[in-house]
């Protein structure tokens, strides 16, 4: 699908006020990214990577035009942790200084708004706007229109204890939202970043986000993403990490809301001794469609990767998982394990899963597993034999299934919050909540 000339006129970057519009390289980068997007258009289901996810509705129902800043929006009520952490709030993709509270940052840590950096023509973002980083065509679209997002830069050896909490609010204009985040952790640095997408409306608004992560030798990053978009929202995202020697990258992806969510999460273990963990949970209902495409590239020896994804499908929802694991020639002593488990709870729900191994080195240990099924009868009986009624037992088992993933989150506040969100969705969740 190529973009029609008339719709193109309307949304070309030069016609929209965007950060960095005075900076030549920014303008060039946006134009060429837009050309790439316009030439290719939205992917179709004929492309293997989009086999199970039809994104044509985005073009039909949502606007691609970036939302303008709206200073009147009152999103303050939605903020999760006001007191702890370093909070940055983005409303419709635009940084809100008023709502944010970055707090005290240790020396060597810089947390800035991308829009400011683009306007100031800072050098740093330039390297992150090149084509090499475009994993999907949506990344090109994001390159063309990125309005804001956070840039976290940690000098070597710096340790940020409190999480950086990035809250993205879709406030209700129905226009497209293009956040772009960049995280750079120098040698031995460590931090936790939370990306929280919250939709307060049911409009078909479209969010296209890219997060780029670069980890120096021995650096550690815990990245948590929570999607709670509105019921009509389209959310397409890329999270892409590059890892240097002995670094540790842990990614958590929780999808509880939104009409259509597609997360591409990739990590490249470029040097020896890296550890990469990708965890995910999707709890779906109604007509929700969630697709996770993950890819782990073991390029250097002695890397360890672990991947645990779980899906719970109710209503007419559809859960898609595609986990690619590549062991490149020479990446010996790779130890990789991947598992995707799915619970299908209703007649109209469905699951498509494709765990995929591609191994080109011999001294490796790689396993994967995928299951689709229902609650275990033995477990149900065990609970009932202890006096728990069948409905509550079922909810408890679903909770347990989800909690296995939630437990892995290293931020207690967030963990608790996700637990509650999950319990709110279970028929007997209220009863379980009081017992926690």
């Amino acid at each position: 699908m190529n973009l029609q000339q008339d719709s193109r006129q309307n949304i070309e970057p030069e016609h929209v006020p965007l950060p960095g519009h005075d900076v030549p390289w920014v303008v060039r980068a946006r134009q060429s990214a837009f050309e790439r997007f316009a030439a290719h258009g939205f992917p179709t289901r004929r492309e293997e990577e989009w086999k199970y996810t039809d994104v044509s509705a985005i073009g039909k129902r949502a606007s691609l035009k970036p939302a303008p800043p709206d200073p009147t929006s009152d999103a303050a009520a939605l903020i999760l942790f006001r007191d702890s952490g370093h909070l940055m709030v983005f409303v419709d993709g635009h940084y809100s200084g008023e709502l944010s509270a970055a707090g005290e940052l240790p020396a060597g840590v810089r947390l800035a708004s991308l829009a400011d950096m683009l306007n100031e023509a800072a050098d740093l973002p330039e390297a992150f706007f090149d084509q090499l980083h475009e994993h999907t065509i949506f990344a090109a679209l994001n390159n063309a229109f990125a309005t804001g997002g956070a840039v976290l830069n940690l000098a070597p050896g710096t340790v940020l204890d409190a999480p950086v909490y990035l809250l993205f609010i879709a406030s209700g204009q129905g226009a497209a939202i293009y956040p772009r985040n960049i995280v750079i952790a120098g040698e031995g640095a460590s931090a936790t970043v939370i990306e929280h997408y919250l939709g307060v409306i049911d409009a078909h608004n479209f969010t296209d986000v890219v997060t780029q992560i670069s980890l120096g030798a021995g650096a550690q990053l815990q990245h948590c993403k929570l999607v709670q978009e509105g019921s009509g929202a389209f959310h397409v995202a890329g999270i892409h990490a590059e890892q240097a020697a002995d670094s540790r990258f842990v990614s958590h992806s929780f999808v509880l809301g939104g009409r259509l969510t597609r997360n591409d999460i990739t990590s490249s273990l470029n040097e020896p001794g890296c550890l990469c963990t990708l965890n995910g949970l999707y709890l779906l209902d109604g007509k929700q469609h969630v697709d996770h495409h993950t890819r782990i590239d073991h390029i250097a020896p002695s890397g360890i990767s672990r991947e645990y994804y779980r899906g719970i499908m109710n209503g007419e929802s559809r859960g898609v998982f595609n986990g690619k694991l590549l062991v490149h020639p020479g990446a010996v002593k790779t130890d990789a394990h991947q598992a995707n488990h799915n619970l299908l709870l209703s007649r109209q729900a469905c699951v498509d899963t494709k765990p995929q191994l591609e191994i080109l080195a011999d001294d490796v240990k790689c396993t994967h597993g995928a299951t689709v099924g229902q609650l275990n009868d033995d477990s149900l009986f065990y609970l009932r034999s202890r006096g728990v009624d069948a409905a509550l037992a079922r909810s408890l088992l679903i909770y347990g299934f989800a909690n296995d993933i939630i437990e892995k989150v290293g931020v207690p506040d967030l963990r608790a919050r996700i637990r509650h969100l999950v319990l709110e969705r279970l028929p007997q969740g209220g009863q379980i909540k009081v017992m926690l």
Partner: protein
């Protein structure tokens, strides 16, 4: 308390229980022994309400009610407890949450207030000491990654917390070393009282050295072929099950004549 009359049961059309008669009164400890495949575990699971068994004849009366008509959770709430031979692992659900859900379900049934977190923890701590479990156990998922001995101890802990009227222990002694066996036996002995009946299903006499039963039954090919006092277990230990079965066959033959 529990009266079983002429109970016949099948799994997938294969008859496993072929006419069980058993009468258990409050305060008693019964041991049900028998060789592998004699139907011991089937009986235990059937009493707890496991699906998959077809009862073709007979009845089970529990405190004046038809036990077989009750749902598994109803039986549990009315005081029937089964310590599983193979306790089930429930990933993601902590022992604390599991036990609290269970205990409160039972308390609610009896019109008692549900315990709050503090009271529950208090109760649990005491009981955990009984079976030698430490605090970290509470946050671990139910039976997940537990050793065989830990799983069995967990069953006894649940027994102690839930305080049932009728406790059925299915091979709770299997796979335990001597220290663990003693610990578990102490736990069970501590639970003996005039209000409560205990049924020990076991293959070996070993457990009965520590928990002396009032009655010992021998189950063979789905029938109780002999009942006696605690000394019967010792005889079985020495001479095996063969002679009891032979004696039963002879008796039956005589009756037919």
């Amino acid at each position: 308390m529990l009266t079983i009359k002429n109970l016949h049961a099948q799994i997938n059309g294969k008859e496993i229980l072929r006419g069980i008669d058993l009468n258990i009164r409050a305060g008693e400890v019964h041991a049900i022994m028998g060789p592998n495949g004699s139907g011991k575990s089937t009986l235990a699971q059937l009493l707890a309400g496991r699906e998959g068994y077809q009862v073709s004849a007979g009845s089970v009366d529990y405190l004046g009610r038809d036990l077989l008509a009750m749902m598994p959770e109803e039986r549990a709430r009315e005081g029937v407890f089964l310590a599983f031979q193979y306790p089930v692992e429930i990933p993601g659900v902590s022992n604390a949450l599991f036990l609290k859900t269970s205990l409160n379900s039972i308390r609610k049934h009896h019109g008692l207030t549900e315990l709050d977190a503090m009271d529950f923890l208090h109760l649990l701590r005491d009981k955990m000491k009984l079976v030698g479990m430490d605090e970290s156990f509470l946050s671990r998922a139910v039976n997940e990654g537990f050793s065989g001995g830990e799983k069995k101890r967990n069953e006894i802990l649940q027994l102690a917390v839930l305080e049932p009227r009728l406790a059925i222990l299915d091979e709770t002694d299997s796979g335990l070393d001597i220290d663990a066996l003693k610990l578990i036996a102490d736990g069970i002995n501590g639970m003996r009282n005039p209000e409560r009946a205990i049924v020990l299903v076991t293959h070996y006499q070993r457990l009965l050295n520590y928990i002396v039963p009032d009655v010992v039954h021998v189950l063979s090919q789905g029938r109780i072929v002999k009942s006696g006092g605690a000394e019967l277990a010792l005889e079985l230990e020495q001479h095996g099950y063969g002679w009891v079965e032979a004696e039963y066959a002879a008796r039956n033959a005589a009756q037919e004549r």
